[in-house]
Symmetry: D2
């Protein structure tokens, strides 16, 4: 939706925004491909050719969140329109109605044999075979897929960092409550040095991440995403691994109960692992910006 | 089974060993309780009273592996026979046939919404209400539960360390194969410093743990579990966190695929987390022995 | 000086503040003792008895910063006036002019065979034997040493966190400049994943610590040290280990040159190690406050 | 010396081995250069030209251990004889008597303002200007410097790993003795969870490194350095960082005393940092061998 608001034409908005905002329809985003390391989006290989005033899409995508939901009516598809253009101008994005012929859902993807808390509706693996969309379904224009991606990821994805801080606060509260109520080796957990260290480390890591997310949000608000690019990349790099450590400590304090479905820790543990996949990518962005602009 | 072989009477062996060895029956082990930190086994609170030549068992147990399996015919139960005895002589162990009245399975326990690779048959939460067993079902004698536990855990549990090393080797092989086949940011993964570091760290950690497990097994073979106690505690402390790090690195190299059910990494990731729960307990044992015997 | 301003009587201020402010005199602080773990100040054992209207001090102190400086005219001494009082009211603080008979400097203390950047004037080990001071030299009153300590350490010591952030920024700038100018294994350092990761990690850790120190300072300014106690403890816990990691990474990028006296890194490395000594103490404070006030 | 024994001609051995073995003379090794990242030895730039039956050496070297010792009579010099040869055949090694004209010692190098325990005699920075040596002073032949280096580092340098294990054992013994004798926050250190964890981690890390060094030595003895290459690289990668962690924990247990010259910890801390400089280089070797030979 944010993508439509920012980059859509008036026609595109008129057609899709209202049902999406009303919650009658939902959309999905088809980027990741099983054949290539998709955290580097220039690797994406799905082909999109022009033909008779249409674009014809062929590709194999997976981890498409929400595509299994019956309400899903729109797919934003990213693929290669011009393999010979400069590396960051080869990709374009398209609006693909889900009822277009040629979209074949292969299977739902399971993670750890279950579904994930962080995403609703599950994720699917999908084939796009000779899927034809009208030329006006392109977003922003040919070769501008990467540009949109940067814009969308820059603004859209800091939400999850905020959620991770909330999640970590809840986990720390659970850890403290547990530590106060349990005894091991003759002493309340709350008087044991290791547990105190775990609580202290969790508190300082959460607090520092909170301050960084607040700073990033503030810079975005007053000076825009471009000025805030380093702060945005920093918090994306920091938040998942921070949450991951806090959750892991809490599980240790809980013992076996921490992994049962009686508590939310195991779900958090597993969900946060997914978000950590992008760690190196964000590290790379932070380092590149740091080297370019700050020395 | 090892427990029966080592501590069982001739009658107990005659009754149970053959069906267990033939795989017609299986047994389960009821130790952990939801109310107390059970990694310190002196915390265990289930009550066992003598009455009319029987022992009467009341208690609430969970994480009983295998109890849900229809073939499970025998439960080894640990509980408190004498609350006034010295701390390590309060517990006793009993053979409880699964068809004894009063055993109520409350629910299967789910971990991350699924079942775990490391254990077969799932784990259950179970109530024991007025469960009566004949006096001769006691193992070794009253107040000797802790002693059996030390013996059994000492010998029995090094198996999982060996399995963890095999598991880690397989994971490293997967990581290498993946790194050879993928390109990101314009370079094969196999030429990227971070990936090389991950491979090198995994190799040295696996190799060191392998040598330690071999040493522990060797000392146990030639000098017995008592002499090998420190080595046993060391490998138990080391193996789960080692495997945990190796698996986590492999997932990072695989990206989203690493968390899908197409590869075993996600299952390993989740399974190993369970084994890490005992880390602090083993750390404590290593430190105590180190302080006592080596200075 | 801050201590005098806050806790001194008018007479004490009149006598000492002007020469200290003018830099004609300097003071030192005698707290740490070689016989006890002095990071827990209730362990301090130096005895202070009343006798004929005087206090008589006997004790053995070390790591007294500045006492070797010829300009040092005043020693603030902490010791036990009442061993039978409640644990936090046994200690008192005194102003001891350096020309009082009985103060015997045993030796300068050397660290790594050299002196440290973080402190000026070196540190001494000193005996106090039958040192007599007038009763009015007590600060705040009998049994209030611990209270003063809490107040002083709360306000005084956040300075070093600010300096550590400045130090870390300089180190990161050096690391970046070096990475830009060097080639290893056929590639500029600045294109190597490990070096990029080091730069990124350093940047996010510095930035988060900076935000935390700014928050702590702000809370102290607007709401006072008491309200800011948790923030103060947090930044003290965070800053030394953060700087330590940044410096260590820079040394790795510099290679042998990083340890030579051509660059400041080795001195920073060694100086920061001293500051990390208090890590567990601050961890403990953070955890205790977190458990008390936040749940 | 090992280098001479293995690669020297009969004449070279006759001239130098006896005085070296008798301790009347000592030798030094001139490899590292201030201008390039010398952990990648192909970067070495010192020029060596043939002229009138002599080799003429020009170069700038530093960190030459032992060159300041008056007994130092022989320098083994590595430089580039053929810049146009394949990358690993450009370098050659020479025996350069220290009384050859043109060797100018610029300065002793200081580390942390002191000298280092690990090396005797200090290290120097030295200019070689038009230093002429006879053709027969070449070792093994033109372009074989890299080959010698691999051979020498393979065999020579595992000694320091053994010493690091001995050093770590001593440090752990000191840590335990200290922990037994001190009280903080109302409890003996030896009953505090953090200290127990530090002792346990140190024990398992030392033990694993010991087993690895024993394995590497054993493989070298029975199958030679080539077969043992991976094991050798592994222990070199592992030992310095292991020792570094053990020492750091001990310093934390000692507090300020750990950094004073009353105990050896500060010297160890600083000395081990030097050895960690090569960590990435060894990581790289391990990873490359692992990828080549094991999959």
């Amino acid at each position: 939706m944010e993508l439509l608001v920012r980059y859509g034409t008036e026609e595109q908005k008129a057609r899709w925004l209202i049902p999406l905002l009303e919650g009658k329809a939902r959309s999905c985003f088809a980027m990741t491909e099983p054949q290539v390391a998709s955290s580097d989006a220039t690797n994406i290989e799905s082909s999109i050719r022009e033909e008779d005033g249409f674009y014809v899409i062929n590709g194999h995508k997976w981890w498409i969140t929400g595509i299994l939901d019956p309400r899903c009516q729109l797919c934003v598809f990213m693929g290669k329109t011009d393999p010979h253009a400069p590396r960051h101008q080869q990709q374009s994005m398209f609006l693909v109605p889900m009822d277009t012929p040629g979209i074949k859902i292969i299977r739902p993807l399971r993670v750890y044999g279950g579904t994930l808390w962080v995403f609703s509706g599950g994720h699917g693996e999908v084939l796009f075979e000779q899927v034809r969309v009208p030329k006006e379904n392109i977003i922003l224009g040919p070769g501008r897929g990467f540009e949109i991606l940067l814009g969308r990821l820059g603004s859209g994805r800091i939400h999850h960092c905020m959620r991770l801080i909330g999640c970590s606060e809840r986990v720390l509260a659970l850890m403290k409550a547990r530590a106060k109520s349990r005894v091991a080796f003759g002493k309340p957990l709350v008087e044991q040095g290791m547990v105190l260290a775990d609580i202290a480390l969790s508190r300082v890591e959460i607090e520092q991440a909170r301050l960084l997310v607040l700073k990033a949000a503030h810079v975005m608000d007053v000076a825009g995403n471009k000025v805030g690019a380093l702060d945005i990349a920093m918090i994306k790099m920091v938040a998942p691994s921070m949450a991951s450590r806090v959750i892991d400590r809490a599980i240790q304090v809980f013992g076996a109960a921490g992994l049962s479905s009686d508590h939310p820790l195991a779900q958090f543990f597993v969900g946060v692992r997914v978000l950590r996949l992008a760690d190196q990518m964000h590290q790379r962005s932070v380092a590149k910006m740091e080297l370019k602009h700050r020395s």
